[in-house]
Amino acid sequence: MIAAMDLDPLTGFLAASLRVATPLLLAGIGETVTERSGIINLGLEGAMLAGALASAIGASAYGPWAGVASAMAAGALVAAGFAACVVFVRVNQIVAGTAVTLVCIGLTGTIYRRAYGAAGVGLSLPTLTPISVPGLGNLPVVGPVLTQPALTYVAVGLVPLVWWGLYRTRWGLGLRASGEAGPLARAAGVRVRSLRFWATVFGGAMGGLAGATLVLAQVGTFAEKMTAGRGYIAIAIVVLGRWHPGGVALAALLFGAATALQFLFQSLRLTVPYQFFLMLPYLLTLLALAGVVGRVRAPAALAAEE
């Protein structure tokens, strides 16, 4: 893990929160668009992993931004396969998503070992260096916190963009209508299947981008199964954020913070077994889901097999 630098614990904690939240936010925003159209994509974890591997391969060949592009393409491809099964043949979305993730775990593990051998790609990967916001870079706390790799700013910028797309465009209206009532939307002339397909592909591309963030902006290398369930957490984050881009952003930050607690405790020299910090995000997700779900309305046509 790229350790927090010589910062005081609080600043380090905040910076780490934002950094850790980024992949969750990217995948979460993508999945929000997918679920708003009525599809739940459990293959997001697979898309993220595929994106992670693709980013490592792309980056080691042509540099970090090529890695980013490859990651998005890989994630989109995985999601397209899933979407084809689910939108056009109408198989059970949940089981299909799980299967897609299984395939991705298998493929990425195999390809990775072949491409890089037992030693792995190591730390020789060109990564994305943090950029500071011009003008704010020198402020005491805000400066270091807002010195993040470019992808973090992309993620943050996506939030208002997706919000605008969902609520202020004709395309977004059709998407939301598809997610609420497919047959009614179709009767009103909306191309439901096409929208659902592309919404899912978009979600996959974002998942891939999240994978790229993990590799190129956090860990610096690829490892088998490195996503460790972040794709599933992203899905839970969508629920917590009530399928709204702003809410999803907040929920992602919450999780970033929960995971970053680890570093805070470390730098405060508190000895708690690290495994409990590993468990924390998942438990927190469950808790939050319990607190939220009952009072929240999902898109009415989500996961329906109409």
């Binding site: 202020r168 465009t169 004709r170 977004g172 209206l173 059709g174 939301r176 209508a177 609420e180 009532a181 009614l184 939307a185 009767a187 009103a188 002339g189 909306v190 309305r297 898109p299 009415a300």
Partner: protein
């Protein structure tokens, strides 16, 4: 103006042995309100659904403003300027009013522009709804307004209104009819599908009456009277004749008792049923006459034990069998075979259940016997229930309900969607059960069916049970169902 904007000629449509339309003709003139009148099942909705592209007729032609051709889908109909307002809500509940209108109209999404267009539309038509309100939260009357706005936003100049006043209170209905006249005055042409004479007489310019799939009358509304319309609708002046029921007097044991029953509306707020008191004796067929949404569903389901009462009690002496309205989602499991479905419906009291064991051979045998007894057309007890026709499915549902050896049978629309023959079989079975000391409580949307088979009738209107006086006429019962309670009601 007397040019025709919509013309249907020689439309026929049949569903199996049932002839829904037999060479019906219809002509709508520009700028008029034209009432399409008829009893339930006369074919009025079918005719207009054909005009809207929802159904393909077996034969016939259609001309819209001089251009011939039948629409093959609602989209095509809309492109020719035809809009339909259905009896059920077709808006998307989670979206706002403005968004629903935008979806239908294909208009701009920028909030300023959208709001302006929606407000423009509302003032032009004289209808106001809060554009930012969630469509699902609207009342029935407002939902209907939204439906009309949606049709108009889609540039419809021919509006087909399907039984619009069915869910409205009398004052709201008056407003709706006034709106129809306003729209016609403004250049649109409106078809008002209804089974109520008064609406045709007061709001329409011209009237066409359908009976059993044929046009029996068409002409200016001003030239018609209640009597002439009734004759056209029913074939004779039956409307005012007293209804004759098969009465069974006598002191039979009470099988069902409802005491001060209050029921919550399923799926939304408010009381569906208020202070209902009821007794049903063995051998009775109690018919509930009611329009949808007045509480009869909650009453039936409370007696069947499917819904729990909010207040009050239901007492049933003996096993209760329930025949739900929707046989494909609540009655049968279509992908399982008939034997499985019979086992499902009869439950733990069946002869083939021994403690925790199920004797499938015995169940299959009995299912085969039921198939023969009830004349169900199926290859074997192993055939999937979903593959049966509607009539046969319903026979299966009734067969297994009676297999429970119930003392009480509760039925929601037992002959829904069935042709004449299948309907008769079902009702005769129910009647035979009554002869065997079973108490039956039945609801049907077809008032004639209830009148034909019941031994006693109650009206459920606006959540209250109304006793029907002995010599009430059909018209009076209809009035009670609409909530226009006669002065001497309890």
């Amino acid at each position: 103006m007397s040019e025709s904007v919509l013309e249907l000629c020689g439309i026929t449509k049949h569903y199996g042995p049932v002839r829904a339309l037999r060479g019906a003709d219809f002509m709508l003139r520009a700028g008029e309100v034209h009432a399409l009148l008829g009893e339930n099942g006369a074919g009025k909705s079918t005719l207009m659904q054909i005009a809207y592209g929802l159904i393909r007729p077996d034969s016939g032609t259609m001309v819209v403003r001089g251009r011939p051709g039948l629409p093959r889908s609602p989209r095509q109909a809309r492109m020719r300027g035809i809009g339909m307002v259905h009896q059920h809500f077709t808006g998307i509940a989670a979206l706002t009013v403005a968004e629903n209108i935008a979806l239908s109209a294909g208009s701009e999404m920028r909030p300023g522009v959208l709001r302006a267009r929606v407000e423009q539309l509302m003032t032009r038509v004289g209808l106001a709804i809060d554009p930012a309100e969630r469509a699902g939260d609207l009342t029935a009357a407002l939902k209907q307004r939204l439906e009309i706005l949606k049709a108009l936003a889609g540039d419809a100049t021919i509006l087909l209104l399907d039984e619009p006043t069915g869910v409205l209170a009398p004052s709201e209905a008056k407003e709706l009819l006034a709106l129809a006249r306003r729209l016609a005055a403004g250049g649109s042409s409106v078809v008002l599908i209804t089974h109520r004479l008064e609406e045709a007489l007061t709001a329409a310019d011209r009237v066409t009456v359908l009976r059993a799939g044929r046009v029996t009358l068409t002409g200016a509304a001003a030239d018609q009277s209640a009597a002439s319309l009734t004759t056209a609708m029913l074939g004779s002046a039956l409307e005012s004749a007293p209804v004759r029921l098969r009465r069974e007097a006598g002191d039979r044991p009470v099988r069902v008792r409802c005491i001060a029953l209050d029921m919550l509306r399923e799926g939304s707020h408010g009381l569906a049923l208020r202070d209902a008191n009821l007794t049903v004796q063995a051998g009775e067929i109690l018919g509930l006459a009611a329009i949808e949404g007045n509480g009869q569903r909650e009453l039936l389901r409370a007696i069947a034990g499917v819904l729990r009462p909010l207040r009050g009690r239901v007492e049933c002496d003996g096993p209760v069998a329930f025949i739900p309205e929707d046989r494909t989602t609540e009655g049968l499991i279509p992908q399982l075979d008939m034997t499985h479905n019979v086992v499902l419906g009869v439950g733990r009291v069946a002869a083939w259940v021994h403690g925790w064991r199920l004797d499938w051979d015995s169940a299959r045998e009995r299912t085969g016997a039921l198939i023969r007894e009830f004349g169900i057309r199926a290859s074997s007890p192993d055939a999937a229930a979903g593959g049966l026709s509607g009539g046969n499915q319903q026979k299966l549902v009734v067969a297994r309900a009676l297999e429970r050896l119930p003392r009480v049978v509760v039925a929601e629309n037992p002959a829904r969607g069935l042709d004449v023959q299948a309907s008769r079989v079902v009702w005769e079975r129910l009647q035979a059960a009554a002869a065997n000391d079973v108490a039956l409580i039945v609801h049907s949307t077809d008032l004639d069916e209830i009148l034909e088979w019941s031994t006693r009738i109650l009206v459920v209107a606006k959540g209250r049970l109304l006793h029907v006086p002995a010599d009430s006429s059909r018209g009076q019962i209809g009035a009670m169902m609409l909530g226009e309670i006669p002065a001497d009601a309890p």
